[in-house]
C-alpha cells in the first residue's frame, strides 16, 4: 500500500515533468499537464504521509553499487515533511494553472512545468533519502533546479544577480554539509543514515559536525547572518515558485537539522541548543525589522520568512536544550511548537506569496507605494490575503497564533529547569518573540492597509482586476487551512505529538473538554473558546448600537480637509511613512540615510524640482559580506598571476612538475 502510494507520487511528478516538455509548443496544454499532474502527485503524497504517520515507517532500497545506492527511508518525521510539501504543492499547483497565463506567449511554459515538477520531486527525495551520498545528490538537484526557477525571468539583470547570490550561498552551504557528512561517515564507516545515528564520535568532532551542519543547513534555512539570498531570490522567482521555495524548500533544512541533532548526534550538549536559540532569536528579530521598512511586497515576505524560520528555530533550540537537560517531555512540547509553526508558516506564507503573485498578476507591480484600493478591485483576493495577514500576525483564532503561543509557552516552561543561565536565555528569547510578534503585526498592518485600502496610488492599481478562479481556489485552500489549523489544534497537536515522539521520546499533552490543551506546566488553551470570544467581541458594537440607537444609520460626508481637496492619492499616507517611527526608534540598526537633490532655474529661490530619497542599510551585507567578498577577490587576483594565458607557461608548469617528480623518484623514492 505505502509502496504503491510512494511510487504513485513519483510517477505523477515524472509524468508531469515529461508531458509539460512534450506539449511545449502549446502553452495552455503544457501548463495543465504540468500542474494538474503535480496536484495529483501531491494528493498521493498526502495519502502516503498520513498512512506513514498513522502506521509503520517505510523502507525501500534500490540495489546499486557499494558506494552509491538509492534508498528511501520514511519515518514519521520524514512523512510529516512530505505532508507539508504535498499540501503546499496541491494549493500552489492549482494556483499555478491560473498564474502562468501571465507567461503565455512570452516565456517557455514547458520548461517551467518541467522544472516545477522535478523541483517538488527532489524536495520529497531530500526528506526521504536514506544515505548521505544520495542525499547530497538530491539536495544539490533541489538547489540547482530552484536556481533555474529563480532565474526563470532571466532577461532582467536583477534576476540574474539574485540567482548568482542564491547559488553562491547555497553552495557554501552544501560545502559545509559535505564536511559534516564526511566526519560522520568517517566515524561510522558507512554513508547510510542508519549507521550515522549509532556512530561513536569523539566530543570535539561531534561539535564540529554540529557546527558544520548548522552552517550548511542554516544557509538554506535563511538563518541570520546566512540569510542574504532570501530577499534577492524570493522576489526574483515567479510567485508560485516563491510560494514553494519560501513555504517548503527552506523547511527541508529544518528537517535535516532535526535529523542531525536528534538522530545522528544523539543527546547533545547544552550549548548547541543555546546557539540555535540565539540564532533563532536574532533571525526572528532581524528578519521582521527589515520586513517592516520594506516596500517591495515579495521582498518583505522574504524577510518575514527569515523571521518565521527564526521562530521555528526558537522552538527547536528550546527543544534541544530540554533534551540535553534530560527532560524529554518538555522537549516534545517545544518540538511540537516548532513543527506546528513550520506547518502553519508553510500554509500562510504560501498564501501570502500567492496573494502577492495575484497582485503582480493584475497590477504588474510589486511596489507597495504604487498600490492601494485593491479591496474594491479584487475583493476575494483581498479577503484571502487578509486571512494570511491575520495568521502571520499571530492573531487568534488564526493558525499563527496557536504555534507562536506554544513556542512562547515552551520558552516560559524553561523556568522549571532551575538553571539560572537557562532562565536568562529563555526569558530574553521570550521577550524577543513577543517583540517580533508586535513588529510582524505592524508590518502586515502596513502591507494590508497601504496595499489594499485607501485610494489607488497609480494607474496600474486603478485598473486592477480580480484574478481568475484557479488562482482564487489555490489561495482559498490555504486560507481555509490556516483557519482550520488555528481553530482545531486539538486534532493537530496529537498528530504532531506522534511525530515528535520518534525523536524525543514521550509526548506530554493532555486534552480536555472543548478543545482545551493542557501543557505539563499547567498552562492551557482552548482555541474554539477563543473563536467564540472573538465573534462575540465582533458582535458587541453591533449589539450596543441596536440597544442604544434603535436604528443603524451611518451618515456619509466628505472628510474635512482644512479647505484643501484631500481625496487624491497624492495626499495619502505612504508605506514608508507608516514604518518611519520604527526606523527612527531603531536607527542604529537601520542606519537610515537620506539624500535631497534640488534643481534651480535662476537662483536658489526658484526651485524647479526637489527629489527626496531615503534608504536603509543592510548591515549584514555591508559589514560581513562586503569585506569577505573583497578579501576573496584580492586573493583570487594574486592567484591569477600564474594564469598568464601563455600555452608555453602552462606547459612549463607541467614540465617543471614532471622533472621535480623525476628527481624525487631518483633521489628519494627508492
Amino acid at each position: 500500500m505505502d509502496y504503491n502510494l510512494f511510487s504513485g507520487l513519483v510517477i505523477f511528478y515524472l509524468i508531469g515533468a515529461a508531458s509539460s516538455i512534450i506539449f511545449n509548443k502549446k502553452d495552455r496544454l503544457s501548463s495543465y499537464a504540468a500542474f494538474l499532474n503535480a496536484a495529483v502527485g501531491s494528493v498521493f503524497g498526502i495519502l502516503f504521509s498520513i498512512s506513514i504517520i498513522s502506521g509503520e515507517s517505510f523502507n525501500f532500497e534500490i540495489q546499486g553499487t557499494s558506494f552509491l545506492n538509492f534508498g528511501f527511508f520514511v519515518d514519521r518525521l520524514s512523512a510529516f515533511f512530505i505532508l507539508v510539501i504535498s499540501i503546499a504543492t496541491l494549493a500552489v499547483s492549482i494556483y499555478s494553472t491560473g498564474y502562468v497565463k501571465e507567461y503565455f506567449g512570452k516565456k517557455n511554459i514547458g520548461y517551467l512545468g518541467f522544472l516545477y515538477n522535478i523541483f517538488i520531486l527532489s524536495m520529497i527525495m531530500v526528506v526521504s533519502a536514506n544515505n548521505a551520498v544520495m542525499f547530497l545528490i538530491v539536495w544539490e538537484m533541489m538547489s540547482l533546479i530552484s536556481y533555474f526557477l529563480v532565474i526563470y525571468e532571466h532577461e532582467k539583470p536583477e534576476v540574474r544577480k539574485a540567482g548568482f547570490i542564491y547559488i553562491v550561498m547555497t553552495h557554501i552551504g552544501t560545502g559545509f554539509i559535505l564536511l559534516s557528512f564526511l566526519i560522520l561517515a568517517g566515524a561510522s564507516g558507512s554513508f547510510s543514515f542508519e549507521s550515522f545515528s549509532g556512530a561513536a564520535i569523539p566530543p570535539l568532532l561531534k561539535d564540529l559536525v554540529f557546527l558544520f551542519a548548522l552552517i550548511g543547513f542554516g544557509a538554506k534555512a535563511g538563518i541570520v547572518p546566512l540569510h542574504i539570498w532570501l530577499p534577492y531570490a524570493h522576489p526574483a522567482a515567479p510567485s508560485n515558485v516563491s510560494a514553494l521555495m519560501s513555504g517548503v524548500m527552506i523547511k527541508t533544512a529544518i528537517y535535516m537539522l532535526i535529523r542531525v541533532f536528534f538522530d545522528f548526534l544523539g543527546s547533545g550538549v547544552m550549548w548547541w541548543g543555546f546557539l540555535v536559540l540565539a540564532l533563532g532569536a536574532i533571525s526572528a528579530l532581524a528578519g521582521i525589522m527589515y520586513a517592516v521598512v520594506e516596500s517591495d511586497i515579495k521582498r518583505m515576505l522574504a524577510f518575514s520568512s527569515i523571521e518565521n524560520m527564526g521562530i521555528i528555530l526558537l522552538g527547536l533550540g528550546a527543544s534541544m536544550i530540554f533534551f540535553a537537560a534530560g527532560n524529554p517531555g518538555l522537549s516534545a512540547i517545544a518540538a511540537v511548537a516548532s513543527l506546528y509553526h513550520l506547518l502553519n508558516h508553510s500554509v500562510f506564507k504560501g498564501l501570502l506569496f500567492m496573494g502577492a503573485g495575484s497582485i503582480i498578476f493584475s497590477t504588474h507591480t510589486k511596489n507597495l507605494e504604487k498600490l492601494g484600493g485593491l479591496i474594491r478591485k479584487m475583493p476575494v483576493s483581498s479577503v484571502l490575503f487578509f486571512t494570511g495577514v491575520l495568521s502571520i500576525s499571530a492573531l487568534p483564532p488564526f493558525s499563527g497564533f496557536v504555534s507562536e503561543w506554544m513556542t512562547l509557552q515552551s520558552l516560559l516552561l524553561g523556568f522549571s529547569l532551575n538553571d539560572t543561565f537557562v532562565m536568562i536565555a529563555f526569558s530574553i528569547s521570550a521577550a524577543v518573540l513577543a517583540l517580533t510578534g508586535a513588529l510582524a503585526a505592524l508590518c502586515f498592518l502596513k502591507t494590508f492597509g497601504i496595499g489594499f485600502l485607501a485610494l489607488p496610488r497609480s494607474q496600474q492599481a486603478e485598473h486592477a482586476k480580480e484574478v481568475n478562479s484557479p488562482m482564487l481556489l489555490g489561495m482559498g485552500l490555504f486560507a481555509v487551512l490556516s483557519i482550520l489549523f488555528g481553530v482545531l489544534p486539538v486534532f493537530i497537536i496529537p498528530f504532531l505529538d506522534r511525530i515528535v515522539q520518534t525523536f524525543t521520546g514521550d509526548g506530554s499533552f493532555s486534552y480536555g473538554y472543548f478543545g482545551t490543551i493542557t501543557l505539563s506546566g499547567g498552562n492551557s488553551m482552548s482555541t474554539p473558546a477563543l473563536l467564540i470570544l472573538i465573534l462575540m467581541l465582533a458582535l458587541l458594537p453591533l449589539m450596543i448600537l441596536l440597544l442604544y440607537n434603535g436604528k443603524m444609520r451611518s451618515p456619509v460626508y466628505e472628510t474635512w480637509g482644512c479647505g484643501q481637496p484631500v481625496s487624491t492619492a497624492r495626499n495619502e499616507y505612504t508605506g514608508t511613512a507608516f514604518s518611519k517611527p520604527v526606523q527612527m526608534w531603531l536607527g542604529s540598526f537601520y542606519k537610515p540615510g537620506r539624500e535631497i537633490t534640488t534643481t534651480y532655474s535662476v537662483s536658489p529661490f526658484f526651485r524647479e524640482s526637489i527629489r527626496f530619497g531615503s534608504r536603509t542599510e543592510q548591515i549584514f551585507e555591508r559589514y560581513l559580506y562586503a569585506p569577505a567578498v573583497k578579501h576573496v577577490l584580492e586573493g583570487s587576483r594574486k592567484v591569477k598571476l600564474i594564469q598568464t594565458g601563455s600555452i608555453h607557461a602552462y606547459l612549463a608548469y607541467i614540465f617543471v612538475t614532471l622533472v621535480i617528480l623525476f628527481m624525487f623518484v631518483i633521489l628519494g623514492g627508492r
Binding site: T644, G645, S646, H648, L651, A652, I654, F655, F662, R670
Partner: protein, 219 residues
C-alpha cells in the same frame, strides 16, 4: 634464441638512432627538416615494431609496424608539409631557447631519464634502455612544446611524446592487443587532423601561428 640476441643488438642501435633523430629535431631551425626528422623517427619506430614482431613471431605486431610506417612515417609528415605550405608561414622555427642550450637541456633530460629508469631497477638490460629512451622522448617532446613558438611545433612535440609512449609500450609488453593499438593510431590521426584545423583557425584569427598571440585571449 640467437634471433632474440640479434634482435636486441639491432634494437639498441635503432633506439640510439631514435634518440639521435630527436636531437635532430631539437637542433634544426627549419620547419621542413623538423618534419623530416620526425618522419625518420617514426620510420625507426616502425623498425622497432618490425623487430619485435620478428623476434616474437606475433602477426599482430607486423600490422602495427605497417600502420606505424603508413600513418606516422608517411601520412602525418605529409599533413604537416601540407599545412606549412597552405598557411604560407615563414619556414623557420622560432625559439624561446637557443639551439645550443636546447640541445644541452635535451642531453640533461636524457641523463635524468636514464637515472630515473635505473632507480626503478626492475627491468632487464634491454627494456631499461628502451624505457629510458622512451622517457627521454616524452620529456624532450614536452620541452619542444614549451620552447617553440609556432603552433606546428606544439603539434610535433605532442607527436614526439606519443612516439615515446609507443616505444615504451612496444618494447616492454611486446605488443599490446591489436584493438588497443588500432585505437591509439586512430586517436593520433584524428588528433593531428584536429590540431591541423586548429592551426588553420589560429592562423586566420591572428594572421600568425605564433602561440604567443593566444595570451590576448586571457579573461
Amino acid at each position: 634464441m640467437s634471433e632474440l640476441i640479434l634482435g636486441s643488438r639491432m634494437m639498441q642501435l635503432i633506439i640510439a638512432l631514435i634518440l639521435v633523430s630527436t636531437f635532430l629535431i631539437l637542433g634544426s631551425t627549419r620547419l621542413y627538416s623538423c618534419v623530416r626528422a620526425f618522419g625518420i623517427q617514426s620510420f625507426l619506430l616502425a623498425c622497432v615494431a618490425g623487430i619485435v614482431a620478428f623476434s616474437t613471431g606475433k602477426f599482430d605486431i607486423y600490422i602495427v609496424a605497417l600502420l606505424t610506417l603508413v600513418i606516422k612515417a608517411a601520412l602525418i609528415p605529409y599533413i604537416f608539409i601540407y599545412i606549412i605550405r597552405e598557411i604560407k608561414v615563414k619556414r623557420e622555427v622560432e625559439l624561446y631557447v637557443s639551439v645550443p642550450s636546447s640541445i644541452m637541456i635535451g642531453g640533461v633530460l636524457v641523463v635524468i631519464s636514464y637515472y630515473l629508469i635505473r632507480s626503478i631497477n626492475i627491468m632487464s638490460e634491454l627494456s631499461s634502455l628502451s624505457l629510458s629512451a622512451s622517457m627521454s622522448l616524452v620529456s624532450i617532446g614536452l620541452f619542444i612544446m614549451i620552447s617553440r613558438k609556432k603552433a606546428i611545433m606544439q603539434m610535433l612535440g605532442i607527436l614526439i611524446m606519443e612516439n615515446g609512449l609507443f616505444l615504451g609500450a612496444i618494447s616492454l609488453t611486446y605488443g599490446m592487443p591489436l584493438l588497443v593499438e588500432l585505437g591509439i593510431f586512430f586517436d593520433v590521426l584524428i588528433g593531428v587532423l584536429i590540431m591541423g584545423i586548429l592551426v588553420f583557425r589560429i592562423n586566420r584569427t591572428f594572421e600568425s601561428i605564433d602561440t604567443d598571440m593566444l595570451k590576448t585571449l586571457i579573461g
